[in-house]
Symmetry: C2
Subunit: 406 residues, 2 copies
């Protein structure tokens, strides 16, 4: 294991907050002394197993811990998923079957080892200790926290103030998450800044159970492609880590210039001094924003698909957007995203490039329709669209439109 | 089963509130139609199995239901008792072992059939369904109520306002009590007015579990012998239903005149028109308050010990307090109750009737000390004293003192 200061430097990089650095130093010292890896935990939603680059912020931090010799627990919160929303009111808390949980876990597994080190990763499920928990144990757990403490959480405080209902069950969720840390004897828990409250409750609960409280590390939330909201699947403003190279590259090229340097910082390992040079170049006009963004898109795409695929994606993109015509030459139109797919026929009609479904269908079948340079010939095809991104729709030999998905 | 109106009249007698009378009427109608007895539930504290006449208010109401053909569940809340206070902060929530729970249940059993009909009584324990409950079921239960609803309870509201801590566990207790009603499919739950909130939560929870909500019947709280606080063992202002006749009679004679008619109403079956006559007699001075109080004391004592024992207790009392000397002739002194017993030797010294423990001890051994006419000859005897009561201590042939226990 590397010496303490080296470990601290890597861990601190790109994080929002460490609560507390002193405790983390003590834990690292003990870990070196006893040759015992730290247990670093993060919880993941069992209902949405598609990992996007927003998740990689903390996965990359987990990887740092692994590179320092520590053990990472990728904890799937399946117990909560299997309860669902008992009131049946919430659509978002869909109740999962054991099979769905296992399927989702496999989906996670296929993705996370693009980032994590398989040998230093434990995939665990909190149903392992929460399912057998009886009311007596729940009572002990519930005795460790107070109503006032729970109402410190921003969303609870807001709802309470506005007289919107908070069920007693919702007070149990942070306790369960905290108990997960007890069950795992977690030394460190990672999460987004929006998870800070729950992570801190974990400290209280570990203390109540006679454990040394975990160090809480919060990580910045990645803003989505729209430049406004947190990146998330439900907002369709994300780049999935299994997105094909061309799609990944194209999505990343669609972000606003102002987001570029944040993405560099949070999502790449390019050293801070290089980033500083880039930032300066952009400010004084010696760097080309488009080239800089292409570097970002290539770097990230290469991480998941390799250098060759990234370069190919970059070339395709250039061919469509730069070589054949300059983007400023193309008429732009916007399309409201309703799901994350649209029927190719409807797309052509909506874009005003065919007068009827019948005409659009014929154009597709005849091979006259391409999207970002790729021909679409199946008239039943559902084309993927991502809010905040843009693509070029070509119909016939000369008619182009840039479609901005809003 | 008697007709509905007859049932309603008996049930209504002496109760504080019925929520709601319409629902109770419907339940009774269905019970008559289907020849199915109603299930009438009341919960009892597993830690304090000594039943005092304050408890009999609701036990007598249970008996009314039994006389109408219904079934009563005497529910011992042993699950809560076995959890105790997991924080270890509360002295009052002592953790009970299974053996203690069973011993306390036997003690209850020895007492309650002085009032209840053995054939229509089910003694049950809520650990039967709460012990095997797992976290998933707890989650479903916790989803049935909200934080705002819980904070409607007066004591929670007060503590919340004053920033005194309320543990999450405390929110689970009313839910557990409500779930007891689900498990028992209770038609009616009885309790003191101080239990109203919890009883109503039971209705909510039964509804959430698809059951017809129980009718809630609250009963007045009996004021203790001190005329101030609710009768309770911990305040030592009570008459136990296993108190010996003389003690029971004497304690009842010690209450303030102003309490008499309340006790008559709540604790006896003397018809309302007779009570009205007594009330009038006391007001216009045609009835003797002392005689009226003696009737109360005899009536209640007879209920637990029979007419003969009650009459004997009354005669003993008269001999000491009226025939030998009038109470006004006796010097009075007060004694601060510290437990509910005092060593006879210390009592004689404290009363100023001996100069030393040695002298007091000799007086006892020589047979010169009596309490309410009963001789105490064992110098190690611990005499029972109850706050708010008085007794006459006699030392030698002529020295009397009335000891007021405060």
């Amino acid at each position: 294991m590397p010496p303490k200061n080296e470990q601290m430097d890597l861990i601190r990089r790109g994080v929002e907050e460490v609560i507390s650095e002193e405790e983390l130093e003590r834990k690292i010292e003990r870990s070196i002394r006893e040759q015992r890896p730290l247990i670093v935990k993060e919880g993941f939603d069992p209902t949405a197993p598609d990992i996007h680059i927003g998740h990689t912020v903390s996965l990359r931090k987990m990887r740092h811990f692994q590179d320092l010799g520590h053990t990472v627990v990728f904890l799937i919160g399946d117990f909560t998923g299997m309860i669902g929303d008992p009131t049946g009111k919430s659509e978002t808390r869909k109740r999962l079957s054991r099979e769905e949980v296992e399927q989702n876990a496999r989906t996670y597994e296929e993705q996370i080892f693009k980032i994590l080190d398989r040998d230093r990763t434990v995939i665990d499920f909190n149903s392992r200790w929460l399912s057998p928990m009886n009311l007596e144990s729940v009572a002990h757990l519930a005795a460790t926290s107070t109503v006032a403490r729970m109402l410190e959480r921003d969303d609870f405080a807001g709802r309470f103030k506005e007289n919107r209902p908070i069920s007693i069950l919702e007070f149990l969720y942070p306790l369960m998450q905290g108990y997960d840390s007890v069950a795992l004897k977690a030394d460190v828990e990672l999460g987004g800044t929006d998870q800070k409250f729950n992570l801190l409750v974990g400290r209280d609960i570990q203390r109540a159970y006679g454990q040394d409280p975990q160090v809480v590390i919060t990580l910045p939330l990645l803003v989505g492609l729209d430049g406004k909201e947190k990146m998330s699947k439900s907002l369709n403003n994300y780049v999935g880590i299994t997105d094909p190279p061309a799609e990944m590259f194209g999505k990343l090229m669609s972000i606003a210039d102002a987001l570029m340097m944040d993405y560099f910082e949070i999502l790449t390992s390019i050293p801070e001094n290089e980033l500083a040079r880039m930032r300066k170049g952009l400010e004084n006009g010696t760097a080309d924003p488009r080239e800089t963004k292409a570097l970002l898109a290539r770097t990230i795409t290469a991480e998941y698909h390799g250098e060759d695929a990234a370069l190919a994606a970059s070339n395709t993109f250039d061919r469509v957007f730069r070589d054949r015509e300059t983007p400023s030459d193309i008429e732009e139109t916007s399309l409201k995203a309703e799901g994350n797919r649209i029927w190719i026929v409807r797309l052509v009609v909506r874009a005003g490039m065919a007068k009827s479904n019948g005409e659009a269908r014929r154009l597709v079948v005849q091979g006259g329709v391409t999207i970002d340079g790729e021909r679409v010939t199946n008239p039943e095809e559902e084309v993927r669209v991502s809010r905040g991104t843009a693509f070029v729709l070509k119909v016939g030999k000369r008619r182009f439109k840039k479609i901005q998905v809003v």
